[in-house]
Symmetry: C2
Subunit: 330 residues, 2 copies
């Protein structure tokens, strides 16, 4: 997942919440520290200070402020959310053997896989320490549930990878796990710490869920469609990752097309021109447009849930963010 898809409204929200965001950044720096193991803050800083946009912790801050919170526990929760996110990135890069992240060499490349695994574990533990300090056990329930769902999504993705039987339901479960679960929980805990009522907390959760799904589907689509906007494309194809436009194309494949998918994705025997042929099949079956419509639909759902929340500039910015994550698809 790449954060570049969010720009302007995200920046406006950052400006609106700039004091909170400074507090979160200070807390993050303070809690990356390790008395005994200096390698921990080195690796954490490499990733956390590499210019991620803090979208997830901002959702927590936004949820809390939108619901009228005026304490400072939302800073703990936002930092916890960023730590969980960073931990999953460290572990993902080990799992995927990635060499670049946010335009820089990955920690697993600069240090080693061992350090990435252990520092991820440390940040995960730190996130729960930060949460306990709020005294709000409900926030621990929400974020431990989300963490379990993230891992389940990742394991599911691992076993579904290159399996041509992967269908749209499984794809949605993977997307919910690897992306939407943390977006949803980040929004939700903001409401919980502010004492929002159940329906408001549910609305915040549903906004994050739908926005996260829209975000990830758009990201997956742009991996094939990005040539239109000058993006490199085809990574998922080369990695044999089954995403929505391909899953849809496989479902409609005739015998010859199926043989193509089996060879290129199932068996990983790819030749020059295969990516272009794959794109041609997706265009033939209209699966790129269909995938775009599904992303737009999730974005619309995200915005619709906001109707149940207070009328406030923050609500408008959340709505704009839901537009923005799919804006490049038009």
């Amino acid at each position: 997942m790449r954060d570049e898809t969010v720009h302007q409204p995200h920046q406006r929200l950052a400006d609106h919440l700039s004091e909170d965001l400074q507090g979160v950044n200070a807390l993050i720096r303070a809690r990356m520290a390790s008395k005994h193991a200096p390698r921990i803050p080195e690796i954490s800083a490499h990733l956390i200070e590499a210019g991620g946009k803090r979208l997830r912790p901002m959702l927590t801050l936004a949820g809390a402020r939108l619901m009228g919170y005026d304490g400072d526990h939302h800073l703990n929760l936002a930092a916890a959310v960023e730590f969980i996110h960073t931990a999953t990135l460290l572990h993902d890069d080990v799992v995927d053997g990635s060499e670049k992240r946010r335009g820089r060499p990955t920690a697993n490349l600069l240090w080693d896989n061992k350090s990435s695994v252990l520092v991820g574990d440390f940040l995960f533990a730190r996130s729960f320490q930060l949460m306990t300090e709020t005294g709000e056990i409900e926030t621990l329930r929400i974020l431990s549930d989300a963490s379990a769902t993230i891992s389940e999504g990742e394991v599911l993705q691992l076993s579904a990878a290159t399996d041509l039987g992967t269908d749209e339901d499984i794809y949605l479960q993977i997307v919910r796990g690897k992306t939407a679960a943390l977006f949803a929980a980040a929004c939700e805990v903001g409401g919980v710490i502010a004492g929002a009522d159940d329906s408001e907390v549910a609305a915040l959760h549903n906004y994050g869920d739908a926005m996260g799904i829209a975000f990830q589907i758009a990201d997956d689509l742009l991996d094939y469609w990005g040539h239109a906007i000058g993006k490199n494309t085809g990574d998922d194809f080369r990695d044999r990752k089954l995403t929505l436009p391909v899953i849809k194309a496989i479902a409609r494949a005739d015998a010859e097309e199926r043989a193509f998918w089996t060879r290129t994705i199932g068996q990983g025997q790819q030749e020059e021109g295969d990516l272009e042929h794959a794109l041609g099949l997706m265009e033939k079956h209209g699966t790129l447009e269909e995938t775009r419509d599904i992303a737009l639909d999730w974005s619309a759902r995200a915005k619709a849930t906001l109707a149940n929340l207070p009328d406030d500039p923050i609500r408008d910015m959340l709505s704009d963010i839901a537009d923005y994550v799919v804006a490049r698809l038009n």
Copy 2:
């Protein structure tokens, strides 16, 4: 760390707590499940059902019962402790590239490193879900602190490995992190859930801390001293792991001996006969006996803390366990 060092008194405690232990095992099986990702319970079961002795969860049960607890939240906490332990084993085996654990091939060998990393993450998240269900945020604080300390200990071990400058203080920090922190927390949360007072909770913590340190020092010592009891020895030497008897021998080395340690541990250039020579140097400087005395001292400290806890058969068994972890050193 190997659980074989604990035998008889551990078994007596298991008999004494057999109903609780059955409850924990049922809970562990139920919570290993994943609706979406069947690989998770497969891998978890491979490790959890491979005949580990459940020492850590038993300490939680023992702490709770000793302090008069008669609810059932101690089962959640004991299962959470076992999940944290299992998660660290999965990640350790990835970090160490281990091929055997509890006499069976490791999960990273049977499946792959990716699955071990992600399933470890899942079990870690699950452990926090189990804790939140108790409603006792103090238990979450204790176990998230312990989890952070475990990761710090592991990262410290990584950067201290093969560094001849590693001294006894660093060694103790590593041992506290990788072993004693979870023993201490396991005991402590049992007391907390039972509503024990601060001094009793501290006594339980200190028992687990001292017993865990004794346990790990004994384990490290037996890696050199095990020939006396027919154990394979020398793994740590071949892995260039700096443990107490070696650290002490290096501190007293003359120039020639220092060159030997630099070559074999620092640079990893080992030849036939080097292990025997290393043992000779440890015997010359008396570091094996000294290490034994330190382990015995930690065992005695563990037993001494029990004086502050109620007179009960469980207390006697905890005392016997503290004896047992160092019994093979005599």
